[in-house]
Structure formats: C-alpha cells, structure tokens
Symmetry: C2
Subunit: 388 residues, 2 copies
C-alpha cells in the first residue's frame, strides 16, 4: 500500500518525505481487495484493515447474548474476574444510558450488537441529535486476540530480545463512552474502564500470565464553571480515596499528562483521573475500584448537565465550543493510542469513531482575547490546575 512508500503532499512547512524509517506504520496493513467488485456497502464493510495483531472482522447480531465470553471461559469460571468484569461493564452501560436518556428528554439510544466468530463482541449504543446531547456513545466490548511477543515483553517491561517467540493470546474487556452535549456551557464527558489478561506465552516456560486494569473519567468543557469542575474532581477523588489516598493525586496528574496535545501545547480539557497497566495491587481491590469509578460517572456528570443544558448562548459561544471540538478530534485521531491502534487493526470503525463530535471547527491561527472566558479555558488547558 503506497502509504508506506510515498510521502506527503500536505501543507506542512516540512515539505520533504518524512524519513521512511521513522514513519513506518506500527503494523503492516493489507487490504481485502477481493471486495472491490462488490456493492460499495459490502465493500466498505469488507475493506477491513487486517494487521499483525489478528482481529477477526465483526459480524452483526440480532440480540444481546448473556455473555460475549467464550463458553470455555464462561461456564467454567462464572466467578472469574473476566466474567465479573463483563457483568460490571454491561450493568454500567445500562445505568449510564438510562441516566442519559432521562436527562436528554427526547433522545433514545440506537443499539448495535456485534460478535466475532472466534469469541468476543460488543454492544455499541449511540444517541444522536437528542434534546441535550449532540452525540452520545456508550460502548462495551470483549476482545480475544493474539498479541505479538514484543508487545508482551514490552508490557512486562522486558527489553525486546532477538530470540524467536510466538504470539501471546490475550483477553480484553471494557466500557468506553464519549458524551458531547449541544449547549456550549455543558461539558463533554469521556470515560473508559478496561480489564486485560494475557495467557502465558507458550514459548516461554514459567513466564507468568499477565493481567491489568486501566481507565479513567475526564471532563472537557468549552467554558469553566468552577463549581462544575470542583464537583467533578471531588467525585473522582471520593471514588479514589475509598481505595487508596495516593490514587487521586497520582491519577489526576496521569490524566493531565495523557490528554496533552503536543503540537498545541495544551490539554484536550480539564482532566479527571486516568490510570493504566495497574496490577501492583490486589486484583479484587482493583476490580472494586474500577466498579466504583464506573458507578461514579452519573453522579459526577449528570448534575452538571442539569445545571447547564438550558443556559442561553450566543453564536460566539457555539463557535468556541466547535473550535474546542476540533481539538478533541486532533487529540483522538493523532495521539489517542486506542483510536489510532483500533483504526489500524480492524476494530469496529463506527464504534471507535463514535468518540468524534457530530461537528467540529478549525479557524486559522485563532487566539482568544486575553482575559476572556475563552482565554481562561485555554489557560487551564495549557497549565493544569488543582481544582480541589
């Protein structure tokens, strides 16, 4: 595919071929060209990206199954962490969607259920052009896949070695959501909680099976209302403090660092909590922590929406919200590793890109007036504040 052999015609002031060794795609992409003689819709569906990390193409399902776990996983270990985590995220999806529909008034979630022949699948729910939300997506998914040995080594912090090694089977389950309201004074919310396991690599006797938890909840307003941001961070801190007093300060900073847009020198929003690769605590404790975080989404967010959803606004306010949505798109498409990885590995595209706002805007060299409300938001995105 010429992506990997040709360089760019973009308006970059760096008008030379990006050094090829520096711009090789992380995964080898090949396309199903056999699709090219069929109905475009089929083609679109079939032109799925295949990659070094083998992910089967998903197929639509008419009904929600009780579980997306492989029967071997499910029947034999209904009390396993994977099984209990799936139950937790599916309950959280129901709870959040019910709260969103209640607050939205008119809007209803559209549901897509899908599965993969080899096991796993997901439920994508999207509410579009509702009374309060422009676009609200709440997805759960369960993935069985094979991970390159280098990835397993990297996850374990082992230096990549040249010795031959086979791919490592993995299991991943998670809930992920982005909620974009219409009113420019009502903030966007994102949250994602996930659990990950690898089997022991067949070629490395004695090498341990890995597991870890990751996730977070963060707030992206276009305008700052101190009481809103304080309330949001307080709820995050309460959830953290129930488990470890070090969690909130540590995960708050991690969140500020993760959602940084280097080319802008600013964060996507006003943060919250973010953590990953968390396995140096008791597994039951971390399952409880992830559950508590998911339960905290509604009380952290809905009260803010109730306060702001009907605030009168001007075209100027809307345009600023749209510019911030543009930053959201920049972060998700350029830096967010789940998005960029998902796009390149044949994940369900519509589920991945539901994180993008319904509409976004880019103005050339826009600078908010110093001291303005827009400037204050930008200032807080450039240098993160302690809200509580």
């Amino acid at each position: 595919m010429s992506l990997s052999i040709s360089s760019s015609p973009s308006p970059s002031p760096l008008l030379f071929p990006p050094p090829k060794t520096l711009t090789l795609k992380p995964l080898t992409l090949t396309l199903d060209h056999s699709a090219s003689r069929q109905n475009p819709r089929l083609r679109l569906r079939r032109a799925a990206v295949r990659s070094a990390v083998a992910i089967e193409k998903e197929v639509p399902e008419a009904e929600r199954p009780d579980t997306f776990l492989r029967s071997s996983d499910d029947s034999s270990h209904s009390s396993s962490v994977r099984s209990r985590f799936e139950k937790m995220i599916r309950a959280a999806q129901d709870e959040v969607c019910a709260a969103i529909e209640a607050a939205d008034g008119g809007g209803r979630f559209q549901e897509d259920v899908w599965s993969r022949p080899g096991g796993g699948g997901g439920i994508s729910r999207v509410l579009q052009d509702g009374g309060v939300w422009e676009k609200a997506g709440v997805n759960v998914s369960v993935v069985y896949g094979m991970m390159p040995p280098e990835a397993y080594r990297a996850a374990k912090g082992v230096k990549d070695s040249s010795e031959k090694a086979g791919p490592v089977p993995f299991f991943a389950a998670g809930i992920s959501s982005v909620l974009h309201p219409k009113n420019p004074f009502a903030p966007t919310l994102h949250f994602n909680y996930r659990y990950f396991e690898t089997d022991a690599p067949k070629d490395a006797p004695g090498a341990p099976r890995q597991w870890w938890f990751g996730g977070g909840t963060d707030l992206t307003p276009a305008y700052i209302f101190e009481e809103d941001v304080k309330h949001f961070h307080e709820v995050q801190k309460q959830a953290c403090d129930k488990f470890d007093p070090s969690f909130y300060p540590r995960f708050k900073k991690w969140c500020d660092d993760y959602f940084f847009i280097p080319h802008r020198g600013e964060r996507r929003g006003l943060g919250g909590i973010f953590f990953d690769d968390l396995n140096d605590y008791d597994q039951e404790m971390l399952l409880g922590f992830a559950t508590e975080c998911a339960k905290s989404v509604v009380p952290a967010y809905i009260p803010i929406i109730e306060r702001r959803k009907d605030t009168p606004f001007t075209e100027h306010n809307k345009a600023w919200q749209q510019l911030r949505r543009g930053r959201y798109v920049e972060f998700n498409l350029v830096y967010d590793r789940g998005t960029t990885f998902g796009l390149k590995t044949g994940g369900r595209i519509e589920s991945i890109l539901v994180s993008l706002p319904l509409t976004a805007r880019w103005e050339y060299d826009h600078q908010p007036e110093e001291g303005s409300e827009e400037w204050k938001l930008l200032d807080a995105c450039v240098s993160p504040k302690e809200w509580i």
Copy 2:
C-alpha cells in the same frame, strides 16, 4: 511524556494497551516546560515540539524577503535548482492567490511571513469565510534541517545498518495548498509541489548528495459532475504528456493509492496526480514538469468553481459535504505523512493545519441511500475510475 508510556481510554473496541513496542512515537518529543509560567499566548507559541529531526522554532517577519535561501546558497548559486525552485513556487503562490481572490469576490488573503534563524522560512496565506471559499490556504516554505542517517539510507533504499553515522543536512522547498469552497457542489482542491536535496553525509565518503521532486494536484468533490472531473483530469494529463506519456497513468494511480483511507476502505476524493522521490529523470526536465503542474492549477480548478459556486443546495447537500470534510480530516490527521510528521517535528502548526476544513461532521454509521448522488460519490471513492 506520558504519551509514550500510557495507553488509551478511547472508545476503541480494542480496550487494551496498544503494544508499546508497536506504538513508540517515531520521534522523541520533549517540551519547553520553561514556558509554563508565561502568558498563555506565549506559552502556546513556546510550547513547540522539538524532535530528533532538529527544526528551529519559526519567528514572524514583518516583510517578505526576496529569498528564504541562506545567503551562501543565494549569492553563489542564483541559478541553482533550489533558487529557481523557490522563485517558481513564490510566483505560483502569487498567481493562485490572485485567481482565488478574483473568483471569490469579497475574500482577501491574510499573509503571515516567518523565518528560522538558521535559514529558511515561509509565507502562509489564508482566505477564511470568503464569498466562495470557506477556507483557502496557500503556503510556500523553505526548510533547512538535519535528517537522521537512517532516513538518508531509507531514501536511498539502503537497508538500515547498525554502523554509527551522523545526521545528514537537507534542504526542502515547496508550495502547498488546500482550497475548501462553501457550496457543496464546488469541489475542494489540494496541490503541493516540493523539491528536496541532501548534502553528502560527512561520515560516508563518496556517498552521493541526493535530490528529488514530489507533489501532485487532486480534487475532492462531495458530488460528481462528470464534466468537472473529466476536465480536471484532462488538464493534469496535458501537463504530464508534455514531459512523458507514462507520467499521467502512473501518477494517477499513485494518487488513488496515496489518498486511501484504510479504515474506511475509500479514497479521500476523486484523485488527480501524485508523485514522489522523483529523481530518475533529468533534473531540468523535472523542474520544468513541477513548474508546468503548478501553472496548471488555475486552469484545472477555477472553471469548475465558476460553474458550481452559485448552484442552489439543500441542508441535506450541506450535511453530506460536511461528512466528506470529516473524511478529509481523518485522512490528513491519521495518514497524511507530511501532516503527522509536521505535527511531531515542530513545524509551523497553523500552516500545517490550515489544510483542515473550517467545519466538519461525523455521524454514527452513516450510509447513503443506494443509487443516490451521495452513494455515487462514495462508490467512486471506494473503487477509483478512469475519467478520461
């Protein structure tokens, strides 16, 4: 920076940390944190991304200099290819901007001139919210930089070796433009022509200095008017045929391949011509070819705009144009190597991102009705056609 150590909370159905060895950023990014106690505007300017490919931060200039070449380049070789290429792209910028302003009626280009202390610089011109164009950017730039030896080897097609080697000085100059009209029946145009040179690597005696040309012109309509697309491709073919009958068929296919969006299984638009790393022809001939291509932009595009700029349209037509603008954003931010490279190497951000439309739209799982005008455009983006 945590980007390189934390994984994603995005709504990807692949809810596990992207294998770190596969997702290491191509370049090491470090930030100017000393900026964090200053005025946000300054901070924004100063929070420039530095990288392994050293590019100095640009500084604004009050006036256009006669040349952006280093005086050593300029005085001693005013007939050099670098010097003549710079003259050509600056003349092309004037010609295209004049034609755009004339066709737009009300809109005027805003100009930003910038330079880099060590040599090089550029002129960015943007017309925003005009009579015909929503956003039109026409940039020229000259860049002096240092290229990692692996990049030089890759450019030469040499397998990367483990032997130590020093960085290779390079020179690049180019013109780049994206023109987004308001009317959904008037197509977006992109063109970019660039010339590249490396010095001989100091550590590799006898290794040749490299040079090559790259570029192309492509059309991205939201609706197909056969006569428009034929006209556009015919003008590209005429420019190519003056130099080599193999150019049009070869560069037309290269364009279809380059502007492919793998995760969508479709192209960004209806193509045109694209070429890169072109050095296996006489250098004078290629300079003439790039010049001819640049001269062909106005006759290829403006007649189409004149025909479509005032065509009545519905909200439905506008929403479809906005969805296609969303695809444009996806291609530029995820795959366009100049954009992604530029963002990570401290290029002038506002010049790089002027390629993004003023507004864009993402709807969940949008499928145009089979046989509709929208479906026909999508079909042509999925399976490229021969237009002439």
